[in-house]
């Protein structure tokens, strides 16, 4: 391979570029990214960056020394808008084309929006530019904040807004937030953390629309209520950035379909990170985006799937001074057992807890709040226990 093009200049794209070089690829490396910024880390955007504890310097994923060592052509501020049928030409929005022998698709996901989101005061939180705009607005005195969506990003944003002294309400359409991630029992426990920040959680009601003419003034709920608001943050999930691949021969279905080695239908095209549906699942976790590139690049350079991504899903979330960590694959019907620590009034007690998800006497997943050490031990045991060979069909 003489040229490899990485499309998407963020977490998984950067890790792929690093892997290409460390696995011996010494040809031309082109990195295309539509954001004007060098790769930066997103998790702090809803946490320490929003509260002002972390500056933009803290977000940088790489530095000049490493960038020089990577010896790549960075095409930043350029959007890829097509990939030809053979996967040999990447078309850019300025009309240029990049001829390439291999492609790493690392275009991530974009925040889902609501109709009416062009009103001032309505935000999403996915990019540095999003976070800057929100941070500036929150710095201008106390505001009535409504966060739409009680998922992890919504909850973290609500927590940060509350820490900054704003009045915050979270609206969640489902009867409980976080159920798909944590199961109902533990979702209720983690959702109870909102009480620590004196944040109201309104559940079981959708949003009918946003109110306001130029600036947002409120959020109309489907039960008829209107919550007054001068800042609205829409945190209703993300959709994978696959639109630019519409004219390619790749299979797209809520992500780029690939085998469990991140290889698409074309052997010289691999996909990693939030955009990749690897062996049937699409993770939106930082750790997957940093682990998949090793395997994807090995397979890309080999021209076929030699390795598969076997790692256990892991994510964390920081909210209301608590650190939530989760690892494993839970299923509905798993029983949950608090193995360490306890709950207080349905919420994590001071000092946190460790919970094990179990099925047929085996641990399937582990959750902790403020118990990093026992969590690490349990996660390692889970990895060991689950390291028996996976059927090839997965």
């Amino acid at each position: 391979m003489r040229t490899v093009t990485v499309v998407g200049a963020s977490l998984s794209g950067l890790y792929a570029a690093r892997e290409l070089r460390s696995q011996g690829f010494d040809g031309r490396l082109v990195i295309v990214g539509d954001e004007p910024h060098r790769p930066y880390d997103r998790p702090p955007l809803s946490k320490d960056f929003l509260t002002g504890r972390a500056s933009e310097d803290h977000l940088a994923l790489t530095d000049d020394e490493e960038t020089t060592g990577l010896d790549a052509e960075w095409l930043l501020g350029k959007r890829a808008r097509g990939l030809d049928a053979r996967g040999r030409t990447v078309l850019l929005d300025d009309g240029r084309t990049v001829s390439t022998d291999g492609v790493v698709i690392a275009t991530g996901a974009s925040a889902r929006r609501l109709p009416g989101s062009s009103l001032t005061g309505v935000h999403t939180l996915r990019t540095l530019d999003d976070a800057r705009a929100l941070r500036d607005e929150l710095g201008g005195g106390p505001r009535q904040v409504v966060v739409i969506g009680g998922g992890f990003i919504g909850a973290e944003t609500a927590s940060s807004c509350a820490a900054l002294g704003h009045t915050v309400t979270v609206v969640e359409a489902a009867p409980l937030p976080l159920v798909p991630h944590l199961g109902a029992e533990m979702a209720a426990v983690c959702a109870a953390l909102h009480r620590r920040g004196e944040v109201d959680l309104v559940t079981g009601t959708g949003v009918a629309g946003l109110r306001g003419t130029a600036a947002v003034t409120g959020v109309a709920l489907s039960d008829g209520r209107v919550l007054p608001a001068d800042t609205v943050i829409v945190g209703i999930g993300a959709t994978p950035n696959t639109a630019w691949l519409a004219g390619s021969t790749l299979a797209l279905h809520d992500g780029v379909l690939c085998d469990d080695g991140c290889v698409t239908a074309l052997p010289q095209v691999v996909a990693v990170g939030d955009v990749a549906r690897v062996g049937g699942t699409r993770a939106e976790h930082w750790t997957s985006a940093t682990e998949q590139p090793r395997v994807a690049v090995a397979n890309l350079l080999a021209g076929r799937t030699l390795q598969t991504v076997g790692s256990l899903p892991y994510f964390w979330s920081d909210q209301y001074g608590a650190r939530i960590q989760f690892a494993g694959r839970r299923q509905d019907g798993d029983t949950v057992r608090i193995a360490e620590g306890e709950l207080a009034d349905g919420a994590p007690a001071e000092g946190g807890f460790l919970a094990l998800y179990e099925r047929d006497g085996r641990t399937t997943a582990v959750l902790s709040v403020d118990r990093p050490r026992p969590f690490m031990r349990a996660r390692r045991e889970l990895v060991r226990g689950g390291s028996r060979p996976q059927p090839a069909a997965l």
Partner: protein
């Protein structure tokens, strides 16, 4: 020189966090060696005293960066900057940390 704890109160393979500013983590490895480094991971916000100790390496509990206790250098991503190391001594059965000057390997 900051007293940490009695030597026998820090078993092999264990660590303890000292509430200095910035906090310091003291480790006693399986080989019985004592090491002290800055407790806060140079990547983001996690306490290395809660990390996974293996030989002379400690793995961060948040995103698995690993640091060499002898040098403070990260051995893998996502950390790219070292933590400061501090000298440890045992005097009359008590572990002490000699806090390194702010410069040196400070991140």
């Amino acid at each position: 020189m900051i007293p940490v704890c009695r030597f026998e109160d820090l078993p092999e393979g264990e660590s303890v966090r000292v509430g200095t500013t910035p906090p310091i983590a003291v480790f006693r490895t399986e080989d019985g060696e004592l090491y002290a480094i800055d407790d806060t991971c140079t990547h983001q916000d996690a306490s290395l005293s809660e990390g996974w100790l293996e030989g002379c390496l400690v793995e961060c509990p948040l995103h698995a960066a690993s640091f060499d206790l002898r040098t403070g250098q990260p051995t893998c991503l996502p950390a790219r900057r070292p933590v400061r190391t501090h000298r440890v001594s045992v005097d009359d059965g008590t572990i002490h940390v000699h806090v390194a000057a702010e410069e040196g390997t400070a991140a």
